[in-house]
């Protein structure tokens, strides 16, 4: 279980997240949605322990992150929004490199299955900088999850991926969730969000303004629409759900 207790985040003087509190339950699948710049990626980085809150506390099973940072990092798999790969390595070299760095024991079966699911063997010997955007994203996803983590943090993992591959990825993630892993997933695609999440988290205006199940979402939707009438981006998100 991960708890946020009055957490806020500033970059220099710019406030990106206003103080908020929320909980991510173990084994849940949280779909995060919200307008551009709302602070979703920043939130996910805080969950991943890759950034520190400006104020407030993040707790992992009741213990502050600073105290258990190694444990947190051993349980988390993070797929960043930006492709974070060595551009001049081939896909094969890339996988080999990240495996060698890995502190956790790599589960060969898991890795093999994921490579097969993403069909990465088709581009095994191609350099990353020669791949198309969608392929890069698939490699990015593979590297992020190859450690078979208990908690999967995914920042728009399917942006730019073709529909067939997207379907495969969704099915795969669903499977991971079923096996008991926690998923926290950012997307702008309601189809994906609905297929995957048992909980929605809506970010707007520098903080989460809604967290709840799909049923609760439907109940609250009209109220939110009324409250944020002037916010065009947010209204579209609500209307499309």
């Amino acid at each position: 279980m991960i708890e946020f207790d009055q957490v806020s985040k500033k970059y220099r003087r710019k406030e990106v997240l206003e103080p908020f509190s929320l909980t991510i339950r173990e084994g849940s699948a949280v779909g995060i949605v919200g307008p551009n710049g709302a602070g979703k990626s920043t939130f996910l980085k805080l969950v991943a322990s890759l950034d520190r809150p400006t104020s407030g506390k993040v707790l992992f099973d009741g213990k502050p992150y600073e105290k258990v940072v190694r444990q947190v990092r051993s349980e988390i798999g993070y797929v960043p929004q930006d492709i974070a790969l060595y551009e001049d390595l081939t896909v094969k070299e890339q996988i080999a490199f990240w495996r060698r760095l890995e502190k956790n024991k790599v589960d060969e079966d898991f890795l093999e299955k994921m490579v097969g699911m993403l069909r990465l063997d088709e581009v095994y010997d191609q350099r990353i900088d020669r791949l198309s955007g969608g392929w890069k994203r698939k490699v990015n996803l593979c590297i992020g999850l190859m450690r078979n983590p208990k908690i999967c943090l995914l920042d728009e993992p399917t942006a730019g991926v073709d529909l067939a591959a997207k379907e495969d990825i969704l099915a795969w993630l669903k499977q991971l969730h079923k096996e008991g892993r926690t998923l926290v997933y950012i997307s702008h695609d309601w189809y994906e969000l609905k297929a995957l999440s048992d909980e929605f988290l809506l970010f707007a205006e520098k903080k989460p303004i809604f967290q709840g199940s799909q049923g609760e979402w439907l109940e609250k939707r009209e109220e939110l629409l009324g409250r944020y009438e002037d916010d065009r981006e947010l209204r579209r998100i609500l209307e499309f759900s």
Binding site: L50, I83, R100, L101
Partner: protein, 339 residues
Amino acid sequence: MLTYLFLHLNKWKKRPFLYVLLFTFPLLATVILYPLLKNTADETAVPVAIVDQDDSGYSETILERIGNSERIRFTVMDESEAEEAVRKGSMEAAFVLEDGLESALNEGDVDDVITWIRADESLFDVYAKEAVGAEVMRLAMSARAGLRVEQEGGSFEEAFDYSEQYWEPEPLFQMSFSERSPENQAVEAPKLESWQVLIMQVFFLYGWVLAIFFLRAVQDDEREGRLQRIELVQQTKVNYFISHFLLFGIVGAGSFLLGTSGLFYITGTERELVLAWLGRGVVVMAVTLFVTWCLFMGAGRKRWVVPVLVLVALASFMLTVSDTGFTGLWPHCLLEKGG
């Protein structure tokens, strides 16, 4: 460490020529340029000063004949000027045609009619010495032959013997020069030539700057999110930074040491000097790179840090070499003080 080394080797392997060239540039420059420069130095005329104290027909003949040589460029000076020029190095050597040269040659006496002034740094003046010596011998022989004929009493054997004597026990140049160094030239322990020190300074600058450019790899990893990924996978960034510090050191010190060793090897510098200078070079380089790394980390690895560090390196080199007084703790100064 090895994982990161392989990573960079892998990257460098994609453009092997460029990166090998970058790393070994000082070495290659030495190996390729030194022989060329040496040849041109050999081929250009040797500048020597001539002091004509005899001011006779013979001394004029000597000047005239030396003037025809393509490999000697002489200037007539008085003795003190000539000594000064040799000391400063603007002349390789000076030859004083001593007073009484003409009469001595007529007597067949070729010893000590010429004083040869040279400095320890003089390299190419031996050729000039031979040329001057040859002219003196020629005059002496001709003079004696002429006298024989004038006296008419000589036999063939006698004239023949006179000529022969100048070829025994070794041909020519057996005349003794009185040799001396310019005054005030302190006798010093062996040391590097000043141009060698300069080249070493250039290589030091090169290695330093090359290492600074390597820091961009670290900045890129951080900016493009790979460092965060590593932080998660490795649970800490410590390993990454230690490894990259070591690689940074290998890039800078390696390139510098390769170049410098090559320079010492090719110029046949004495072992003792080589060890002393390399030792000093390694220490100064290590301290410099360590401080550079600390500045880089301390400044938050920001984009502007790399150009600023390059400027610092350039300033260190320029201020030291131009010797304008802003010396002090610049690495290049510390390196130079080794002499």
